[in-house]
Symmetry: C2
C-alpha cells in the first residue's frame, strides 16, 4: 500500500545542500554569540501545558500544539462531562524560546551568574494556517541578558546581533529602535486612556504603510476622543520631522530620552558606525510583555523584520513571583536563511570528493585509500563506479561533488 | 503565584557546561561522518500519526506522544461515539529517526544519489515510565546507507562509527556482530517453528546473563518441543566453542557465513586491527524489522549497548511498495555522553575570559576593548565588577572562566 510520504503539513524535510547552508549560517551566528560571552543553553521542545497556557504569548497561545494525555489519564478526560480541549492534554510544544528561558532561569538561578547572558537556538512550533513561506515549525536564534537593569544589556545585544549578521556578510539591514515608555507617554499625553493604549499602538504601527491620513482615518473608526486623535496626529508629524529631540514636549521623561540616545550613541561607537541604528516612533512590536526598549532588524526591501526583541522586565520572574530585568534579541532564522538563499549566497567550498571503486576492488583497501585523501582535508564519499560514468559524475555534481578519483588511478580530477 | 519551574517529566534543561560537552561530542561525531561522505539531512520531530502508527516500531508504537487535533476536528472527535485515542490526534512526535528517514528517502528519491549515505542527528521522544537515567526525549546520531545490497554498506558503517568513537578518544568498546539469517537458520534447524522464532530469540538473547542452564529452563517454560530445545542448547554450546566456523553444520547457508566473515576481515583491515569485532550468536537486537546483519557497540563494564544497528531491507520501501536495501548504525548519544562525563572526560580548554568593568566606564569603549581580546582567539564575556571581586571571580570560575581582565588595567590574569 502506498502511503503519504510528505512531511506533516507546514513541516519540512531538508536535503543535504539546504541543510549544509542552514548549518553554516547557524554556526556562524552561534560562534559570534559564543565569542561575545553568551552561553549556549538548551531547553526541551516539550513543556508542561500549564506553563505555556499561563504565559504572556498573546495570540500565540491559541496556536499551541497540545500533547495528549496517555492511558488512564486520557480515559478519565474522555469520561468527564463537558470536557474541554485542555482536559485531554498535559504538555505542549513550545511556541517561542522565551517562556522556556524564563522557566529555565528560575529553575537554575542558583547555578547561574548574577547577570546571565544566554544563547538559545532551536525550533518552535505554531499551528498557523499553513501557506507558502509560513512554517509550523521554525528555528529561532535568541540571545538574552537576564539580571541587568541598565541599558548595557540593550547595547550589548544590538551590537552582538549586528556582528553576527555582518559575520555572514549580511549588511543590507538597519536597526529600528523605540521604547514602550515613549509610546505610552505620547499616546496618553495626547488624551487617550490607558485602556486604549494597546489598540492605538496597533494603528500607529501602520504609519509607514498607510501614512498620516490613513492612521487618522483608522483612529476615527473607533470611538476615541476627536481631540486626542488630532493631538496625536500632530505629535506624530512633529516627531517624524524632529525625531527624538522633541519628545520631551509630548510628555516623555527626559530620562527615557537619554536612555535611548545613549543606546544609539554607544552602539554606533562600538560598531564604528557600520550599522544604521534609527529611532522610529512607529515601531510597536506585537508582544504585550515588553516593558521598555524595543527594536527590530529591517532588511532592505523586505516588508517584514528578520529579527527583533526588547526589554521584558516583568516576565522572567513570573515563575517565582518577583521582578527580574531581562532583554532579548531574536533572529528569525528562517527569514534570514531564505533571504540569503534568495540572494544566491554561496557557502565556502566544501572540497567534496567522490571516490569511485569497482566491486572487484578489496573494499578495505578502498576505505584505506579514502582515509589517505581525507588526511589532505577533503571530505571523501565512496561510490561503486557505474557503467555510464559520465552520467554518474553529472548526478554527483548536482549533489555537490566537485572532484572525483577512480580507485587505482590515483589522481584527483575536477568534475 | 509560584509555578512549577521544572522541565516536563523525563525532559531536561542543559546548563552551559553540560551543553558545551554535548555539543563537542556531537560535533566530533558529525565531523567524522561528514568527512566519511555521509550527508547530513533533517526531518521534522513531528510526523503524521498514521506514518508512525503504521511503522514497524514494535513496543515503541505504544510510547508515541500524540498531538491533539485542533478546533473543529477536535470537537468532531469528541462528539464521536466510542471515540478512541487516535480519533483525537493527527500527528505525533517521532520515536526514532529511521521511520522519518524512510519517509524522507521515498519523498526525495529523485533528488538523491542511487546509493544514499545519510546522517541524521536529532531528538526522539518516547513516553517511557520516567526513572533515573531514562529520558523521554533523547538524542540519536544515525548513519544509514540506502540502496546498497552488498556488505560494503555494513563494512563502511561499522568502520565509520568506530572512527567517530575513536575521534573522541573513546576506545574501551568492541563491536558484536551477528545475522538474523544465522539466528533463524540455527533455531529452525533445531526444530522450532517459524512462528516461535521471535520468542526463542528473546530467550537466547539472555544467554550471557543466565547461562546455558538458564536459557534451557526458560525454553522449557513455554510449550516448545523437548527435542528442539535439546538440539538448540547443544548447538549453542558448540557455536559458543567453535564460533562462526561450525555454523554450516547447523543449517546456515555458506553464503551467509562468508558474508559475516568478510565484514569482520575488512573492518579489521580498514581499522588496522584497532577495534575488536566479534561474532556473537547471542546478539539478537529487539527490533523486528532487521532482515540480515545486526551489530552492537558494547562498552567495557556496561550492561547495555551504547549503539547498534543492522540491515533492514524491507522497511524503507514500505512507503512506496517496493524493497529497498538499507543498513543503519545508531549511536545512543545520551549513553555515550553520560559515560564520558562519568569518566571525567575533559573537552579541550575554551579560553574563556571575564572582562570586568565599572559602571563609570564608557560601555562602548569596554566593548571595543573586548573585541581586541577576541581577535587573539578568546571568548570574552563582559561583567560589571562587583564590590567583592574575589567572590565574583570564584563564582565565575565555577562557571568555566579561567582568566579575567579588569578594564583599564590591560593585562589578562589567571583566576
Amino acid at each position: 500500500m502506498k502511503k503519504n510520504v510528505n512531511p506533516a503539513k507546514g513541516m519540512r524535510d531538508f536535503l543535504p545542500k539546504e541543510k549544509e547552508t542552514r548549518n553554516f549560517v547557524e554556526n556562524k551566528i552561534s560562534e559570534t554569540y559564543k565569542n561575545s560571552g553568551f552561553e549556549l543553553i538548551e531547553t526541551p521542545s516539550v513543556e508542561n501545558l500549564e506553563n505555556l497556557m499561563g504565559s504572556e504569548g498573546g495570540d500565540n497561545i491559541k496556536l499551541i500544539y497540545k500533547i495528549m494525555k496517555r492511558g488512564d489519564k486520557f480515559n478519565k478526560a474522555k469520561g468527564k462531562e463537558n470536557a474541554i480541549e485542555n482536559d485531554f492534554a498535559d504538555m505542549g510544544l513550545r511556541y517561542d524560546l522565551t517562556v522556556p528561558l524564563s522557566r529555565f532561569y528560575c529553575n537554575n538561578k542558583a547555578n547561574l551568574p548574577a547577570v546571565f547572558k544566554a544563547m538559545q537556538i532551536g525550533y518552535v512550533f505554531r499551528a498557523e494556517r499553513a501557506q507558502k513561506g509560513r512554517y509550523r515549525s521554525f528555528k529561532q536564534c535568541d540571545i538574552d541578558i537576564i539580571g541587568e537593569s541598565s541599558n548595557a544589556a540593550e547595547i550589548e545585544l544590538i551590537t552582538t546581533t549586528s556582528k553576527a549578521l555582518k559575520a555572514l556578510d549580511v549588511d543590507k539591514f538597519k536597526i529600528r529602535i523605540n521604547d514602550r515608555r515613549i509610546l505610552r507617554a505620547v499616546i496618553l499625553n495626547a488624551g487617550f486612556e490607558e485602556s486604549q493604549f494597546e489598540n492605538v499602538c496597533v494603528i500607529v504601527d501602520k504609519l509607514d504603510k498607510v501614512g498620516f491620513e490613513g492612521v487618522e482615518n483608522e483612529l476615527n473608526k473607533s470611538e476615541y476622543s476627536e481631540d486626542a486623535i488630532k493631538s496625536l496626529i500632530q505629535a506624530l508629524g512633529k516627531i517624524n520631522e524632529d525625531g527624538i529631540e522633541c519628545l520631551a514636549a509630548y510628555g516623555v521623561d527626559e530620562e527615557v530620552v537619554i536612555w535611548i540616545k545613549d543606546i544609539m550613541t554607544k552602539v554606533d561607537k562600538a560598531l564604528k558606525n557600520t550599522v544604521c541604528v534609527e529611532f522610529d516612533f512607529t515601531l510597536v512590536r506585537g508582544m504585550g510583555y515588553y516593558t521598555g526598549t524595543i527594536f527590530e532588524i529591517q532588511y532592505e526591501g523586505l516588508g517584514y523584520a528578520i529579527g527583533g526583541g526588547g526589554r521584558y522586565d516583568k516576565m522572567v520572574g513570573n515563575f517565582i513571583g518577583q521582578d527580574i530585568p531581562a532583554v532579548g534579541f531574536s533572529i528569525g532564522f528562517e527569514r534570514l536563511v531564505n533571504q540569503m538563499i534568495e540572494e544566491n549566497y554561496e557557502i565556502p567550498g566544501l572540497g567534496k570528493i567522490a571516490l569511485l571503486y569497482d566491486r572487484e576492488n578489496d573494499f578495505a583497501d578502498v576505505m584505506m585509500y579514502a582515509d589517505e585523501i581525507r588526511e589532505q582535508g577533503y571530505r571523501v564519499a565512496l561510490f561503486e563506479k557505474a557503467k555510464k560514468m559520465g552520467k554518474q559524475l553529472s548526478k554527483l555534481q548536482d549533489f555537490g561533488f566537485n572532484r572525483f578519483v577512480v580507485f587505482g588511478e590515483g589522481h584527483i580530477k575536477e568534475i
